[in-house]
């Protein structure tokens, strides 16, 4: 059993989790919820084992380093943080149905990592610039932030879906509504955004400190840095709109979605569409 097998299994288990949560959403059978949770948790453990094994394998190859150093590894880690973050939310708020919106994101990430032909899966040694203790701190802080923004976007979709069906006249036979109340979703979007914002800030800061110890400049307006700042500004504006203008509901849900597009561009788009210092984060 090697790490790529485990991570391959993870892809399919996340697909199955997605289906379970989708089933839960459509057929409103709460009993299925437990199964979905246990299944996702099991998939998460398999993925954790896969990542740990990849770490061990890199040491066996004599080029030991944390599995966070190329596009494949980062996408896998992104999926991992999304699930970790989602399971924590499920645990704290006791609402399962968010999984129908959050788990697919992790599945898409894993599917992309596993099947895309333009990212290399091999464990490669670290180029001199990446040989730094800041690597782990920088990648983890950024990805916790990204995962929180991903879940905020998932919640945003959920909010928009629910608010579309909400004004319909109450049906004669009341169906159990598994989606939490709009105000609850709204509050949770806000909280996940705040959480993501702090981690993104920490991610930018650790990146700046690392850049300074490697190149002597903490900020050089390279496209990746600039896009992370654009994303940071975007969420800063959103938070200000909420605190001082009282924005909430649909507007914030929509902003959570747009913000996540900016996150995806910072994370992924910049590597493939623009050139810069972060070139080692791309495909091969």
């Amino acid at each position: 059993m090697d790490s790529s097998q485990l991570l391959g299994i993870t892809t399919f288990t996340y697909l199955f989790s997605t289906l379970l949560y989708a089933f839960l959403l459509v057929f409103k059978t709460p009993r299925l919820g437990h199964i979905a949770t246990y299944f996702t948790a099991a998939a998460f453990l398999i993925q954790t084992a896969g990542i740990a094994l990849r770490w061990v394998e890199s040491y066996q190859m004599g080029i030991g380093h944390a599995p966070l150093t190329n596009m494949y590894e980062s996408v896998v880690f992104f999926a991992w943080t999304i699930i970790a973050f989602y399971l924590a939310i499920e645990w704290i708020y006791k609402t399962r149905i968010i999984g129908a919106f959050a788990v697919p994101l992790a599945f898409f990430a894993m599917a992309y990592a596993s099947f895309s032909s333009n990212i290399s899966k091999s464990i490669s040694p670290l180029v001199p610039a990446l040989q730094s203790n800041w690597l782990i701190a920088h990648v983890i802080t950024c990805f916790v932030g990204y995962a929180a923004f991903a879940v905020a976007a998932a919640l945003g979709i959920m909010y928009l879906m629910k608010s579309r069906t909400q004004p319909a006249p109450t049906p004669l036979i009341k169906q159990p509504d598994l989606l939490p109340s709009l105000s609850f979703i709204d509050d949770l979007i806000h909280k996940t955004m705040i959480f993501g914002f702090i981690w993104l800030s920490a991610g930018i800061i650790t990146g700046a400190i690392w850049a300074n110890s490697a190149w002597g400049t903490y900020w050089s307006w390279d496209p990746k840095e600039t896009w992370s700042l654009i994303t940071w500004f975007f969420y800063a504006i959103t938070l200000h709109a909420r605190y001082t203008r009282g924005w909430s509901g649909k507007k914030i849900a929509l902003l959570a979605l747009i913000g996540f597009i900016s996150v995806l561009f910072t994370y992924y788009g910049v590597n493939f569409l623009l050139s810069g210092l972060h070139s080692y984060g791309s495909g091969s």
Partner: protein, 446 residues
């Protein structure tokens, strides 16, 4: 006066903040799409002559240091300062308020409120301070005639979180300005065995005197089996007045700092030149020579002549070199050597060992930035401020004991400025403690 007030209100407004943040974010995109800092010809080729002129007028090729981008950053700073000054006094009043002077009718209007009736006339019979303290709330109490009011609060300083965030951004800008005016960024290429006293700024290539000498003793290059670079390192020596002060090996991610100037390993260059070290085995006498490719050089004292006559290279990196060696009138010897491989040559009377390697220059980034610690301090402040602003809340509770016709009325009330759900839980917990105290009192005084 009216104009000043209007201007003040404009600079303090959230609308301006949203406009400025949005403008910085949107215009920043331009610089990520249009390559920055290239010569004009590049833009003429990339677009066309007219567009290139247009871009130059707007400073797009160096937009992050253009007048209008600095203008936007300046606007952001002004906005941050004025909006904070505008709001801070009111917040400060809340933080330092005498909460025991609260209008009593407000207590009964709070969202979290619970009241108990007590049939007693002994005013001092219950120690509320003790009850609240056991619930985790340290309070102060004031007598108001027959009645008494206790107050306790937590996290009042969290109200400053937002302003700490605003200040931290100003601190970061301040650090950047200090670095801009009192520091420099530059680079230098130093061939092995050579030294330099000056470096060249980047951009601009203006020479800057270091005030000391830096020598490159050697440059090392290592590769993984798959050909990827594994390590670049330079052995550097700092000299002052010809005296060696400091010897250090730097690598990417571990620079050398001397007198506030930091040297970073950033690039290298392989030359068509070689370093040959020859040692006479019997005496141990040794000398190092630097010689160009395919040129003969001699060590006259020993009557030796030698040179590199052929190489095997990948790009500019020499993997093996062929040495030609002639001692006195002996026939010449040739041999292929890898870098730093030691080979022995025996002439008629003496034995020599020889070592050869390609000559490299190390490429160093050089930076002096006295503002960097201010920037880091600002970053720390930013995280602290965000934590305070988002995760801490100002929670206040009042316990009012008033004498009524039937005995006494106890009112427990409270509020929080954020995270109300968590406060309601804390409040409910505290209700339990008050309940317990009252029950115990009623049991003792039936």
């Amino acid at each position: 006066m009216k104009l000043i007030n209007q201007l003040w209100a404009f600079f303090a407004s959230v609308q301006l903040a949203i406009f400025t943040l949005g403008s910085i974010a949107l215009t920043s995109i331009i610089g990520t799409i249009i390559p920055q800092g290239k010569p004009n010809d590049f833009y003429v080729d990339y677009f066309d002559a007219k567009t290139a002129i247009f871009l130059q007028i707007l400073d797009i090729p160096t937009m992050y240091s253009s007048w209008w981008f600095y203008g936007l950053l300046g606007l952001l700073c002004t906005n941050l300062i004025i909006c904070s000054l505008e709001r801070l006094p009111a917040v400060w009043r809340i933080i330092t308020a005498d909460n025991l002077a609260i209008p009593l009718e407000r207590i009964e209007k709070m969202n979290s409120l619970r009241q108990w009736s007590l049939r007693t006339e002994e005013v001092d019979s219950i120690d509320w301070q003790e009850t609240l303290k056991s619930g985790g709330w340290r309070c102060e109490t004031r007598k108001l005639g027959d009645s008494s009011l206790s107050f306790s609060q937590k996290g009042r300083w969290s109200r400053l979180g937002v302003y700490i965030v605003h200040t931290s951004i100003l601190v970061i800008f301040f650090g950047a300005i200090i670095g801009y005016f009192f520091g420099f960024k530059g680079s230098v290429m130093i061939p092995e065995l050579r030294s330099t006293e000056k470096i060249f700024t980047n951009p601009g290539s203006i020479p800057i005197e270091l005030g000391f000498t830096i020598r490159c003793n050697s440059f090392g290059l290592e590769f993984y089996d798959n050909g990827m670079p594994k390590e670049y390192n330079s052995s550097l020596t700092i000299l002052e007045n010809g005296k060696e002060i400091l010897n250090e090996i730097i690598k990417v991610n571990s620079p050398l700092t001397y007198k506030g100037i930091t040297f970073y390993q950033s690039s290298y260059q392989g030359h068509q030149e070689f370093l040959i070290e020859i040692t006479e085995a019997s005496t141990g006498e040794s000398r190092q020579f630097s010689l160009p490719f395919q040129q003969q050089i001699s060590w006259d004292d020993k009557n030796l002549r030698f040179g590199i006559i052929n190489v095997e290279a990948v790009g500019q990196r020499v993997l093996r070199s062929k040495v030609w060696f002639k001692a006195g009138d002996d026939p010449a010897i040739t041999q292929w050597l890898t870098n730093n491989e030691i080979v022995s040559f025996t002439s008629v009377e003496k034995k020599y060992s020889l070592k050869s390697k390609q000559l490299y220059s190390t490429g160093l980034q050089v930076a002096k930035d006295p503002g960097v610690w201010i920037v880091y301090f600002g970053c720390g402040l930013l995280l602290l401020g965000l934590y305070m602003a988002f995760f801490l809340s100002h929670k206040r509770i009042w316990l009012y004991q008033q004498v009524t016709a039937k005995g006494m009325l106890i009112s427990l009330a409270g509020s929080a400025n954020k995270n109300k759900l968590a406060f309601v839980q804390a409040f409910t917990r505290l209700e339990g403690f008050v309940d317990q105290t009252i029950r115990r009192y009623n049991n003792k005084n039936p």
